[in-house]
């Protein structure tokens, strides 16, 4: 109580000399972009605009399915999207089934060149006006992903923070470190959708059930507006 009083007294004495230094600022409301998956949206509130979001997990954990859903939702809502495909793994044939509007998607194939991928992302972010930029590092080996220098991520964070752009990084291991406002860790194993058969069907069925429905998602939410305050919340949810 004494401390509180002395603080109030201090503010009253010198507050007028330091402008609004003692004023408590309201937390800015962060706009979000839906992922198109209700469960993830209810957990995270969507991907925050003006921030970096990271989706990571091993192969066959549902990263690409979530990316397709994200792109389909964003393009359906007339957002201009860009996909920086580091290892040239995007499959337009599979993405068609997700309902993606390709006219709103700029696909950049980097043929395995990590430096090109980062430079392309930087160019896109500086151009401005993109609603969603996805940097796909899903096939970059963990040791290479860990070698990515932090200054790239700080640069990206600084560039997007004044824009309504969602920068999403898809990777095998978490690599954006403290720069991501939202990190989604996918831990799932694929599950066959039906009994396997060697009978030749007329049409090939979907081999597995949608991966995200059998996933364990770990959400690491940091405060996106003041990312230097590491107030992390970890929640692990299975559905």
């Amino acid at each position: 109580m004494r401390a509180a009083l002395s603080k109030a007294q201090l503010e009253a004495d010198i507050g007028s000399r330091f402008g609004d230094a003692f004023k408590i600022h309201d937390k800015a409301v962060v706009e979000t972009l839906s992922t198109g998956v209700a469960e993830i949206d209810s957990l995270t509130g969507g991907l925050p605009r003006g921030c970096i979001s990271e989706i990571f997990g091993p192969a066959s954990s549902g990263r690409t399915s979530l990316t397709y859903s994200l792109l389909a939702y964003a393009t359906a809502h007339e957002e201009t999207c860009a996909l920086v495909d580091t290892n040239d793994v995007f499959s337009p044939t599979a993405a068609t089934e997700a309902g993606m509007d390709f006219d709103r998607l700029l696909w950049i194939r980097c043929a395995g060149d990590l430096e090109h991928a980062f430079k392309a992302t930087d160019l896109l972010l500086h151009a401005g006006g993109f609603g969603l930029v996805i940097l796909d590092l899903g096939d970059v080996a963990g040791k290479d992903a860990r070698r990515i220098i932090s200054s790239w991520w700080y640069r990206f964070r600084r560039t997007v923070e004044d824009q309504p752009t969602v920068l999403t990084v898809v990777s095998e291991e978490a690599c954006t470190r403290s720069c991501a406002a939202l990190a989604l860790e996918l831990k799932g194993t694929p599950e066959w959708s039906r009994a396997q058969s060697n009978v030749l069907p007329m049409r090939k069925p979907a081999p597995v059930k949608p991966l995200l429905r059998h996933n364990s998602i770990k959400v690491n939410q940091m405060r996106p507006v003041t990312p230097w305050i590491h107030e992390s919340q970890f929640r692990a949810v299975s559905f």
């Binding site: 399915s65 979530l66 044939t93 998607l105 950049i108 395995g112």
Partner: protein, 447 residues
Amino acid sequence: MFACVHALESADLSLVEFAYGFSPVVEEVRPGTVVIDVEGCELLFGSPYQLAGEVVRRAETTVNIALAANPDAAIHAATYLKGITFISPGEELTCLGDFPLARLDHSLVNVEKKVADEIRETLRLWGVRSFGDFASLPAAGVSERLGPAGIKLQQLATGKTERHLKVKQPAPVFANSIELEHPLSELEPLSFIFARLLHHLCAALNAYALATNELCVTMQLADQATHERRLSLPYPMLDHKVFLKLLLLDTEMHPPQAAVRSVAIACEPVKPRVLQNGLFVPLAPAPDKLELTLARLAKLVGEQNIGSPVVLDTHRPDAFSLKRFSLQTNADIRKRRKAGAGALNRPSRIDDELCLGFRTFRPPLRAIVEIDQGCPAQVSAWSKQRSVYGKVVSRAGPWRTTGDWWRDDRWARDEWDVMLERQGQQSLYRIYRELETEHWFVEGNYD
């Protein structure tokens, strides 16, 4: 004073070009007839009489010339009177008064043919036969009975119309070139040349309230070759700084093979883009910034590696092409909204079937597959970028697909979906066996 020149023969002589030799104020009435405003030409050609003589001398074909204070009177006189005709101011009817009314050119006063024919018929019934008869009618009575069109035609017959010449402007040429004293082999000094040419070009376009969507750059090289590049823009633009950056990026990607001796830049003039964005339309990149970004990306990863994907109409696996990425216009957006009005309000996909993601390995990984009772049991595949190996714990297949058997690039294969286990982690891959070569490949990973 106006001079009307009427060519009697359809010669190769371009009368408009010919008329520009006397005055810049020229109206082309119809093919073969032009009116020249010769006011102020005395210092060059002398009196109107001397001017008419000069016109006849210079013309390579037979022409009629009429000089009058009224352009329409000069047109009528030159059309129907041979040789050189001079009409003094106020003496129009002396010259044209005997002309029949059928010669009255109603198009000169913007009266429709149907209305003009009706008026002529009415005048014929009244017994009015010539320009002189028509001019002698009282203007108030003509206005009362024939209306404004009648008054216009009467003024035309009298030679008292008041109008300006519809001056035919020479078609503007938006091109600029420069010859260099010394050939340039580096991009930096060339950029100053580009900047200068583009600045003048954009200023010329701006003066006509135009923009351009195509730039054509022609460079004459030191080895006598010609280097030509065309820059097509999806939207009309008028910013010389953007053009300069695009041109420099293009020249970096496609450099000339020798030093440059001369540079010429021409552009296709089009109307500028007028765009009003809606309040509720999501933000999109600015067109000029997007073009620059696309050009920079093309320089970075190659032109063939950026664009919007297009799925080809074939059953061939992983068949797609890339088209140039461009922002959609408001008309496109409206059309799409009309076509899929419910798309925006669609429910979340979690209740529907979620789309299964697939990551394609390009090129497919050559694999060594151990077979057990006709089914894959172990898969091993390596490349510089990735490795796939493991014991097959479960599988589905095979699915046989074939196609394009009449072409060299035909395909025929048996596909399997295999679950591989490696270090306790299970992953699902699509592998296939080519029927022709019996080789196994890993096509990609379900994710």
